[in-house]
């Protein structure tokens, strides 16, 4: 650890994406320390995916954790199955890797990248800026730190089981929420023979990815980065509208259940209490608590260093770095959901890579 220049705080998917990116850029395992609570970077995410019985990723062929987009998961699957079908699916944007394939690829990367040599099982509670770097809870000083602590917690509805926790389905189920997890839970509960009430505050959008595609590249990001803070916050609120992908795989079972009366949709109002009273089980598919204030480490960082914030976001430069604490010799980056100010889809794999690549550029620049 004495020779380490880089620290990654957190040990989830964004941490692994950052680690593989640094390794791709020639940074040795001895130069990196990963502080986290789980040696397996996929464990938390995999448990959530298993809880909602997710079979396929929402991301596409490049939705993997390796540094370079090519070869993507479609190419690997085509080679493995000796079939052009995954390639044809990916050029028509119809390829969705299975969760198993994604996890297997993540495991391959973990085991070949040197992750174990850099991983330290330790929860970091405080990050402090010092001369030339950052002090991490007495673990030493690092010139470049990327914080990827993930979502601060589940957004719960009182008395409900959360979709991302293991559960079965009762005969009458109320599902709160309208995003990808909620849509998955509608289908799960219907397939289990339940009657379902969908409780939603607003109608979900239908789009293949979490956000419109231009927000994943410079073309859309440039105009986003030009927005003044109030407008940027409004844009982020608008982009957080729940959505799930279009397609018959979703529509057909939902339409059939609506016709049969096994699925009802109600708004979150007076119907809400009536529906939850009717239900034997309430499932909260309401995602995660939002905002830096819900994350003790980030809240402490903001308070200690008086960082600029707007609404629930920490203000970041377009490369996901904290401007007040980043200069020619040190870098503090935020990856994952905390990086939304720089990249609206920061809580996706693409978002993790966006922050990771920018982090690598700074690390390489100061080598």
């Amino acid at each position: 650890m004495a020779s380490a220049r880089c620290a990654i705080v957190g040990s989830g998917l964004a941490a692994l994406a950052t680690y593989t990116t640094l390794r791709h850029g020639g940074v040795a395992p001895e130069e990196i320390v990963v502080f986290g609570t789980h040696a397996d970077p996929t464990s938390v995410w995999a448990r959530r995916a298993a809880s909602i019985r997710q079979q396929h990723m929402r991301s596409e062929s490049d939705g993997h954790l390796a540094a370079a987009a090519f070869p993507g998961l479609a190419v690997r699957e085509a080679a493995r199955r000796i079939s052009v079908r995954p390639l044809l699916q990916t050029v028509t944007n119809r390829y969705r890797p299975t969760v198993d394939a994604f996890l297997a690829d993540a495991e391959r990367l973990r085991s070949t990248s040197g992750w174990e040599r850099s991983f330290v099982e330790r929860r970091i509670a405080r990050v402090r800026a010092v001369d030339g770097g950052f002090q991490l809870d007495g673990e030493g000083s690092f010139a470049h730190v990327l914080i990827a602590t993930g979502h601060p917690g589940l957004a719960r509805v009182p008395g409900a089981v959360h979709a991302y926790e293991p559960h079965e389905y009762a005969a009458r189920v109320a599902i709160v929420g309208a995003g990808m997890a909620a849509a998955t839970e509608w289908l799960n509960a219907l397939a289990a023979g339940s009657e379902v009430v969908s409780i939603r505050r607003r109608e979900p959008l239908r789009r293949p990815l979490n956000l419109p595609r231009e927000y994943f590249s410079k073309r859309g990001l440039e105009s986003f980065h030009r927005l003044a803070p109030p407008q940027r916050a409004v844009a982020l609120h608008e982009l957080s509208t729940p959505s799930y992908p279009p397609g018959a795989a979703w529509d057909e079972p939902i339409d059939r259940a609506l016709r049969q009366g096994r699925l009802r949709i109600v708004g979150r109002s007076s119907d809400d209490a009536q529906s939850t009273a009717w239900a034997e089980q309430v499932i909260s598919a309401t995602g995660f608590t939002a905002g830096f204030a819900a994350d003790p480490l980030l809240a402490d960082l903001v308070a200690e260093h008086a960082l600029a914030t707007h609404d629930r976001w920490i203000v970041l430069d377009s490369d996901s770095t904290v401007p007040d604490l980043t200069d020619d010799v040190r870098t503090l980056s935020l990856a994952g959901v905390a990086g939304q100010w720089a990249f609206p889809a920061s809580d996706t794999i693409a978002g993790a890579k966006y922050a990771a690549r920018a982090f690598l550029r700074r690390v390489c620049r100061t080598r």
Binding site: T21, H24, D62, A67, A68, A69, F70, P71, T90, V91, T92, N93, R213, E214, F216, S217, K218, R219, G220, L221, E222, A350, K353, Y354, R357, L360
Partner: protein, 383 residues
Amino acid sequence: MSYTLIGRIQSRLLSALPALLVALGIHRWWAIELVALMLAVGLALDVLVYHRALAYQPGWLALPLGLLELAIVYAAMRELTIAAPLRGALGLYALAWISAQVFAHAVLPRLRLEYAEAGGEPGRLGALTAVAVALTVVGGLGGAYAVRPPTVHLHGTVQGPLVIRHAETLVGGVVKGGIDIRADHVTLRKVTVVGGTYGVNVEHAQHVMLDRVRVLHFTLDAVRAVDAGVMVKDCSVTAPAGPLTTGVLISYSMGRPMSMVSGCTIVGVREGISTHSSMVDVMDNHVVGTSVRGISLSEMSMDRASGNVVESANGIGIVCMDHSMCEIEHNTVAGAKVDGNGDPSRHGVAIEAYFYAEATVAKNTVIASPGGVAAFDQSTIER
């Protein structure tokens, strides 16, 4: 991919690199001109159409866009009379298209991790390479322009025969007594040739282009090419001055680049288009009223006849003969007439294989030709 405009332009320039290297490697001006044309068309579409219309470009769109660009490049190539052999041009285009896909989906994302999120911008090194490609193309075109053959404009009538011994472009005018071409890289454009044993006689030369040339009152052949590689495009052959005349005759040119005869109108000769021991693409010609054969592909030639219209040929419309191998497709033969000498091979045969010839025929239209499609003397016709 959601390209920025700069990303589109730089990616296009970079992915042209393999095609440009091939063009430079084969030492053919047409290839450099074609790469430049492909880039010009592509960049114009990038700036004027694609960037505005395609905020996001899915992978499958590369195929229809590639076909659109191919059509535009082909039309522009013909309009600018770039003397490119069709197969070579298609091969170069295919290479450029495949390179573009490989670069966009594999090479550039490997070389620059941020390639996709940067809107297809390849970074500093990529940008420099793109500039180098652009400069090479411009430099190549400049070089081609600097060493291009001189252009001579003829006005009025010139008494021939003219003998051309150096690369040059001859434009316009009327030449009496014929033109002899003895040099490579000669172009005749919109020249009318009157009289002469041969209207235009090309010997031991290649990269010769006859573009919209009119020939009349010749006594043997309107266009004769021996040991030559010629492109005869949109010619007009009429009013022969004897009974033993041929419209376009290409002989003993197997060792030369492939020749092409396209878009010509040939009327009233003994044989319309005739090849011997050559490789010729005979396409989209109109041959009328020949006294022996409309189109004759013969003497171990390897030829293709497609899209031609042969009308009122005496005896035979189109023939593949004497150990030749021919592809005969999409032609129309109408009113092939019975010769009357009792020879069944001249009994108004529309399409014929004769004397150990192998012809592949497909999608031809035969009208009022009593001999139909037939093979004689150990020949085969594959349909």
